[in-house]
Amino acid sequence: MAEAALRALEIFTGPDRLALLCAGILAGIVVGLLPGMGGIVAVSLILPYVLRMDAVAAVAVLTGALAVVHTADTITSVLIGAPGSAASATSVIEGHPLARQGQAARALSAAFLSSMLGGLMGALGLTLSIPVARPLVLSMGAPELFMLTALGVSYAGSLLGREVRKGLLSGLLGMLVGLIGPSPAAAQVRFDFGSLYLMDGLPLAVVALGIFGVAEVVNLLAEGGSIARGATLGHGWLDGVRDVWRHRWLVVRGALIGIWAGILPALGATAGTWMAYGHVVATSRDRDRFGKGDIRGIIAPESANNAVAAGDLIPTLLFMVPGSASAAILVGALLRYGILPGPRILTEHLDLIYVIIWSYALANVIGAGICFAASPALARLTRVPFARLAAPVLAAMALGAYQASQEMGDLVTLVVLGVLGWLMSSAGWPRAPFLIGFVLVGPMERYFVITKNLYGWTWLARPGVWVIGAALLAPFLWGLVRWLRRGGVAAERTTLPPGRHALDLAVSVTVLAVFLGAAFLAVRLVPGARELPLLVALAGCGLGAVQVVQGARGRGGAGEDLPEPARLRRGLGILAGLWGFVLLTYLAGFLAAVVALALWVTLALGRVRPPWAVLYTGATALAVHALAGFLALHLPPGRISP
C-alpha cells in the first residue's frame, strides 16, 4: 500500500503534471469565486479538455479542481455576503459580519487555513478509511441514515437565535420550500402550481444565493458606503492563523463531521457544512457572538466543507454511488478510461486511488496558497464604496443562478427568495434554520419513508439508532439541566420600539398566510405525498398564529439591529429595481439588462458622474460577455432581443 502511494507521488515530480494540476486548481478557484457556482460548473468546464489527456492526468486535474472550489468560495461569502457556493453559506453568517467590522483579513486567513487543514485531514481520512470503508458504509441502514438527518435538523435547533419561535418558523418555512417538487415515495409533484420549473424542486444554489446573497447586497446598497466600516484592515492575517491554532481541535471535529457527511450517501456537502456549524454552536458555552462574526463559526464549517469532498470519494470510488453531481462526472470520466469504480478498484487501480488522494492533498495546499496570495488585494475591495461593485456582483449572481436550470424561473426564484431573505433579515428573523430546513427535509422524509416501509416499528430497536438518538438528545438534556440549576428563570422579553414592529408584524402575517395556503394545498395531495407537508404546514400555522398575536401586541423580542425606516424604504426601492432587472432580462436579454442595471446602480445609487458611469457600464457588460464566453455559460436570451 505504501509502495503504491509513493509510486503515485512520483507522478507529480514532473513539471507537466504539476502544471496540469495547477490548471485544474485555477479553474476550481475561479468557479469557486463566482457566486452560486459550485464544483459541477468547474468540472463541466474542464471536462472537454480533460478527456483528451491520459487517465492519470485527467483524474489529477478533475480532483484538483474539485478540491479547491470550497476554499475559494469563502472569499465571495466573506467579502460580499453572497455564498460562493451553496455549501459556504455559513461563512456568510459568520465571515461577512467580520468583513463589515474591518476584519476581512482575519476571517479569510482563518478560513483558508482551516479549509486547507480540513482538506488534508480529508485526504488522510480517505487513506485510512479505504480498507474499512466498505463494511462501515454497509453497516448504516435506512434507520441510521434517517437518525443522522434528524441529528442534523436538531443541530439547527442551536441556530434558532434568541427568539426561538421565529427560528422555528424560519426552519419550517425552509422545509416547506424544500418540499416543493417531486414527492420521494409517491408519483406526485407537490406545490408546483402547474409550473414545469417547480417540478424538480428549487435548485439549492439559487435558494442559498437568494436568501443570503441578494438580501446582503440590497442591505449594503441601502446603507451606502463601503462593506467595511471604520477600523483598518490591519494585519489580521496573523490573527486568523492564531485563531485556527487556538481552535485546532475544532478543525479536527469539523473535518471529521465533513468526512462522514461525504461518506454517507444521504447527506451531501451542504448538510455537512451546516452540521459542522450547528455542532460548534451547540457545543460552545458562550454563544452571544454567533451570527455577528464568531471566528469559530468559520473554522468548523470551513474545515468540514473541504473534507466532505474527500469523504464523497469513498462511495464514488468503492460503490459507484456518487454523492454529488461533480463526483458523478468523475465516475463518467473514469468509465471512459476503462476504470470501473466498485469493489475491484482497490485491487486493480490502487495507484490511481493514490493519485486522487495526492492530487487532492496537493490541490488543497496550493489552492489555499493562491487564495492567501490573492486575498489582500481582494480584501481591499471592502473599502470601495459598494455601489461601485454592485453591478458586476449582481450580474455574477444572476449568471450563477441562471446556470442551475437555464430558465427564467431561476432568476425569478432568486429575486423572490431575495425579497424573503431581505424581509427576514430586516425584521430580525434568523435565516440559518431556513437553509437547514431546506437542505435536510428531503433526505429526512426519504429515509423516514424507507425506514417505515422496510422495518415497521422494529427500527427503533436498532443499536445504531439508540447511539445517534443519544447524541441527538444530549444537548437538550444538558440544556434542561442547566435551566433547572438556574432556577427556571425564563429569558427576558423586550418590547420593540413603536413603528419598527410594523415590518415584523407584516412578515409574521405573510409567513402565516403562506403556511395557511400550504395547509390548504397539502390536504389535497395523495396519501404518501401529503403527510410531511401537512405536518410542516400545520406546525407553521400554529406557531405563526402565536407569532402574529404576539406581534400585534407589540411584543417582538430583541430586535436590536433593526434598520432605520429610511433604510428600509431604500431597500424596498432596490428590490423593485431588481424586479425591473428580471423583467428587462426576460424582454431584452441579459446583456441589455446588465447595462441598465449598471447605469442605474452607478448613476442613481452610487452618484458616479455620467461619463464614468457609461465607461463603467461598458466595462461591466464586456466583462460579463467575456466571462460567459470563457466559461461557456449561457446568457438568458430576451423575448424581443435581436
Partner: protein
C-alpha cells in the same frame, strides 16, 4: 508593401468562394447537444464522452458542446428543444429514458413528439434482475415461489415501470419500497440486506453485482433481453449467460407471451426505455445534407478504433451505436404505444402499488 497586401487580399477573395463551395455542411459551425438532465447522469456522461468523437468525425469538424437543461423531470429541456431548436443541424437532443417514458405514458406536460424528430444515432442498454439468497430461489423460473421479495425504487414513473411490468408478466408480486434517491442507493440497500430483489443496468451489474454473485451474496436471475434488427427478442449481448424475461415466461407458463396485453406493455417499455433508450435526435426539418453528415459521422465513429475502445466498449458496454436513418422507422414504431397499453401500465401502478402516474 501595398502590392503584397493587395495580392494577399486577392488571393483570399479568390479562395473564399471556392472554399465555401467545397466545404462540408458543418465547416465553421458548431453543434450543441441538449441534455435535459443535470450533469452527471448516465445520458450526460455518455454524451460528454461522444462529443469529442463527433467533433472528429463530422466532416468540417464543428465544435460540439453539451448543454444541460435540467428540470421538470427531463420534460423541460425536451420541451425547450421541441419549441426552440432551429432545424439547421446546430442543435440536437440527447433524450434520456425519463423523457421517453413520459412520452410513452402520455404525460400531459409533454410538448415534444418524437414523430416530428429525425433520429441521428441510437444505442441502448440492458438490465439484470438478481435476488438475495434468502428468498430461496436458484433461477428466475422459481420466482413465483420466492418468499419476502422486497424491491427498492425511486418514485415512479421511470425505469422501475419496466421492472414492475416484467414482474406482473411473470405473475410475481414483490413488495416495493419507493423513496430511494436513485438506483445506486437501492443497490446499497440490497447489499445491506434491506432489499432482497434488485434490478440494475448491465454495466452496473457487471462491475458491482458480479463480485457479490461470486461471493454468494446475490443470485443472478434474468435479463430484460435485447432486440435484434428484425425486432426479435434475443439474449442480452453483455450478459449472455442469463435467460431473458421472454424465456422465463415460457419456462413458467409453457407458452409464448406474444399477444398478451401485459407482454405488449413490457415490450413497449423495454424497447423504448432500454433497447433504444439512448437516442440522439435532430429537429424535424433539419436539412438532408446536415443529416447525411451526421449519419456518416456515426459510421466513421464505429470504424474508429479509439472510439471502439473508449466509448463503445466502456460506456456503451458493447451495445451497437446505430446510424439513425437505418433504425428510425423501428424506433418510431416502438415509441408509439396504444392507449390500452398505457391504461394497463397506469392501472397496474395504481391498483397494485398505489401510485398515480
Amino acid at each position: 508593401m501595398r502590392t503584397v497586401v493587395a495580392g494577399f487580399l486577392l488571393s483570399v477573395a479568390a479562395w473564399v468562394p471556392l472554399a465555401s463551395a467545397a466545404a462540408p455542411y458543418y465547416a465553421g459551425k458548431s453543434v450543441e447537444i441538449i441534455v435535459p438532465t443535470a450533469p452527471g447522469g448516465p445520458s450526460d456522461i455518455l454524451v460528454r464522452a461522444l462529443a469529442p468523437y463527433l467533433e472528429k468525425h463530422i466532416a468540417g469538424n464543428p465544435s460540439v458542446r453539451v448543454r444541460n437543461m435540467p428540470g421538470g423531470g427531463t420534460i423541460l429541456g425536451s420541451n425547450w428543444f421541441a419549441l426552440n431548436a432551429k432545424p439547421d443541424g446546430s442543435t440536437l437532443l440527447a433524450a434520456p429514458v425519463g423523457a421517453t417514458i413520459a412520452y410513452i405514458i402520455r404525460n400531459p406536460a409533454v410538448r415534444y413528439d418524437f414523430r416530428a424528430f429525425k433520429l441521428v444515432a441510437v444505442s441502448g442498454s440492458g438490465a439484470v434482475f438478481y435476488a438475495s439468497p434468502r428468498v430461496g430461489v436458484r433461477r428466475a423460473a422459481e420466482l413465483p415461489q420466492a418468499r419476502d421479495l422486497v424491491m427498492g425504487s425511486p418514485s415512479p414513473p421511470g425505469n422501475v415501470l419496466t421492472a414492475l411490468v416484467a414482474m406482473e408478466l411473470l405473475g410475481v408480486s414483490p413488495k416495493v419500497v419507493f423513496g430511494f434517491e436513485g438506483v445506486g442507493p437501492a443497490r446499497l440497500a440490497f447489499e445491506r440486506g434491506e432489499l432482497t430483489l434488485d434490478f440494475q443496468s448491465t454495466i452496473v451489474y457487471v462491475t458491482q453485482v458480479e463480485p457479490l454473485v461470486r461471493a454468494g451474496r446475490a443470485v443472478p436471475l434474468m435479463t430484460l433481453g435485447y432486440l435484434d434488427e428484425r425486432g426479435q427478442v434475443v439474449r442480452d449481448p453483455a450478459v449472455r449467460g442469463l435467460p431473458t424475461v421472454y424465456e422465463v415466461y415460457q419456462q413458467i407458463h409453457g407458452r409464448k407471451p406474444d399477444g398478451l396485453l401485459r407482454w405488449k406493455a413490457f415490450r413497449a417499455l423495454f424497447a423504448a426505455g432500454w433497447v433504444y433508450g439512448r437516442g440522439l435526435w435532430a429537429p424535424g426539418g433539419t436539412p438532408p445534407e446536415a443529416l447525411r453528415e451526421l449519419h456518416e459521422a456515426v459510421d466513421r465513429m464505429n470504424r474508429d478504433p479509439d472510439f471502439q475502445r473508449d466509448v463503445a466498449q466502456r460506456l456503451l458496454e458493447g451495445y451497437a451505436l446505430h446510424r439513425g436513418d437505418r433504425v428510425e422507422a423501428t424506433v418510431h414504431r416502438s415509441l408509439q404505444v396504444t392507449l390500452d397499453v398505457v391504461k394497463f401500465i397506469r392501472d397496474l401502478m395504481r391498483q397494485k402499488y398505489g401510485q398515480e402516474i
